[in-house]
């Protein structure tokens, strides 16, 4: 059972699109899993032949459980699940946990046999214990389920998943917040001019320009692109921008646009449109939900001017954009009215300092003054 986000504890197999003997290639959709947030397509992680399917549709299993066995062309082998937390230890087996984790588990009343370790060799860390302490017990969830209608159940599940991730974020991540106002005149004029030449189906929205500007800014400030794991910053070379997408029925998902810095504006627009459509119709791929290296939240459509985001762990930063407003803007001794955007960044203070965040916003501002170069 792949981990499809920091907030996922278990999933239910909905269907398989493969059978024993089938050849699969890396990236092929092989089935679908229901999480508390949505139904997610799961993918093959390497080329292989399906050997055995262990989990039946309807089975609910914890993250890390083996769903199916695969073998290579010549050497039979079990293909491991995608890189996820190690499953909880079976009863009776020695639990590998640090003394600090054991002490905190005792204080919080957490059973270490039921905690999945994310440390080296599956060791249970302090964070794992603290995270486990926030998860409702199956009995509590079952009691809740019996009193709610299916639609309400889905909503409650979504809220629980968001609650777990955001509570973990606010508990574990010391956020710092920075904001800057950006004169968007050049960017707005550029898009107006571009879109004048295009048919409606080929138009580019300002959101695509902002994604590109963020991605290129990260090339210059790479410390904000990555994860905080094992008590250290692990910057990532590939820039996969997670987009916070509100779902119409409530809640949100954060799928990623892969290699956003290398995509043209048209490609970004197409990728965003595709992601939003699939997020809202429940057809996201597992890798899209796990690969984000930073998140953008853009609430300008709802009229807000400033957005202060909550970092999606284990990422180390989230960028917020509000609405572009016509506002007074002073340049030298001249005062005029310009389209102005407030951009914010929330950074993980364990990973970076405010200086890095400030550098990022400065680069972002600079790039948006030359939108034709994005």
């Amino acid at each position: 059972m792949p981990s499809l986000g920091a907030d996922m504890e278990e999933g239910t197999v909905i269907e398989w699109t493969i059978k024993p003997g089938d050849h699969v290639h890396r990236g092929d959709i092989i089935g679908c899993v229901r999480t508390e947030k949505a139904d997610i397509d799961i993918e093959a992680w390497e080329d292989a032949i399906v050997d055995q399917i262990l989990a039946k549709p309807g089975d609910t299993l914890p993250v890390g459980a083996v769903l199916a066995l695969f073998r290579g062309e010549s050497v039979p082998a079990a293909v491991p699940a995608p890189p996820v937390a190690v499953p909880a230890s079976p009863e009776g087996e020695r639990v590998h946990a640090s003394p600090l984790a054991r002490r905190i588990a005792e204080e919080l009343g957490v059973d270490l046999n039921k905690v999945r370790g994310t440390g080296p060799h599956g060791a249970i860390t302090r964070e794992d214990v603290q995270h486990a302490a926030t998860i409702p017990t199956p009995a509590a969830m079952a009691a809740s389920a019996t009193t709610e209608k299916p639609q309400a159940d889905a909503q409650a599940g979504m809220r629980r998943a968001i609650a777990a991730a955001m509570a973990r974020s606010n508990r574990e991540i010391p956020h710092y917040y920075l904001e800057t106002r950006i004169n968007m005149e050049c960017a707005v004029r550029f898009l107006e001019s571009e879109n004048q030449k295009r048919s409606v189906k080929d138009r580019v929205l300002v959101a695509a320009l902002l994604v590109k500007a963020v991605a290129k800014s990260l090339n210059e400030v790479p410390e904000l692109n990555g994860y905080w794991i094992d008590d250290r910053l692990q910057p990532k070379e590939a820039i996969h921008i997670g987009l916070a997408i509100a779902l119409r029925q409530g809640g949100l998902v954060v799928p990623a646009i892969h290699n956003a810095d290398a995509k043209s504006l048209d490609e970004l627009m197409q990728a965003m449109s595709d992601l939003i459509t699939r997020a809202r119709s429940g057809h996201l791929r597992g890798s899209e939900l796990t690969d984000g290296t930073i998140t953008i939240t853009h609430l300008g459509d709802l009229g807000v001017e400033t957005v202060y985001g909550v970092i999606y762990p284990p990422q180390v930063a989230i960028v917020g954009f509000g609405r572009i407003v016509e506002a007074p803007w002073a340049e030298g001794t001249m005062l005029g009215v310009r389209p102005v955007l407030t951009a914010t960044i929330a950074g993980d203070h364990r990973a970076t300092d405010g200086r890095r965040g400030a550098q990022f916003l400065t680069v972002l501002n600079r790039l948006l003054q030359k939108p034709e170069n994005l």
């Binding site: 107006e192 879109n195 004048q196 048919s199 409606v200 189906k201 138009r203 929205l205 300002v206 959101a207 509100a246 119409r248 029925q249 965003m272 449109s273 939003i276 459509d301």
Partner: protein, 85 residues
């Protein structure tokens, strides 16, 4: 000779396009002067998809400069009526 498309047919086309974007909503309940985007919780992507849907159904190309005329159902019907057929 092609017959001009009636306002009622245009309205139905708009409702169909809106239903694709906001399946849970009932566009028929919209007041003629109500703000479409606010009433149906339509963001920039949804709005663009609405215009793409209308372009494909009615063949009308809507420039960005005209978006301000399309904030209400009445505005949209009136705008499209002048350009189809």
């Amino acid at each position: 000779m092609e017959r001009p498309i009636s306002e009622s047919a245009i309205r139905d086309t708009i409702f169909k396009a809106l239903k694709k974007i906001a399946p849970e909503a009932n566009p028929q309940d919209l007041a003629p002067g109500e703000n479409l985007r606010e009433a149906l919780d339509i963001d920039s992507f949804d709005f663009l998809n609405l215009l793409i849907g209308l372009h494909e159904s009615l063949g009308v190309e809507i420039p960005e400069a005209d978006y301000g005329k399309l904030t209400t159902l009445n505005g949209l019907v009136s705008y499209l009526s002048q350009r189809v057929g």
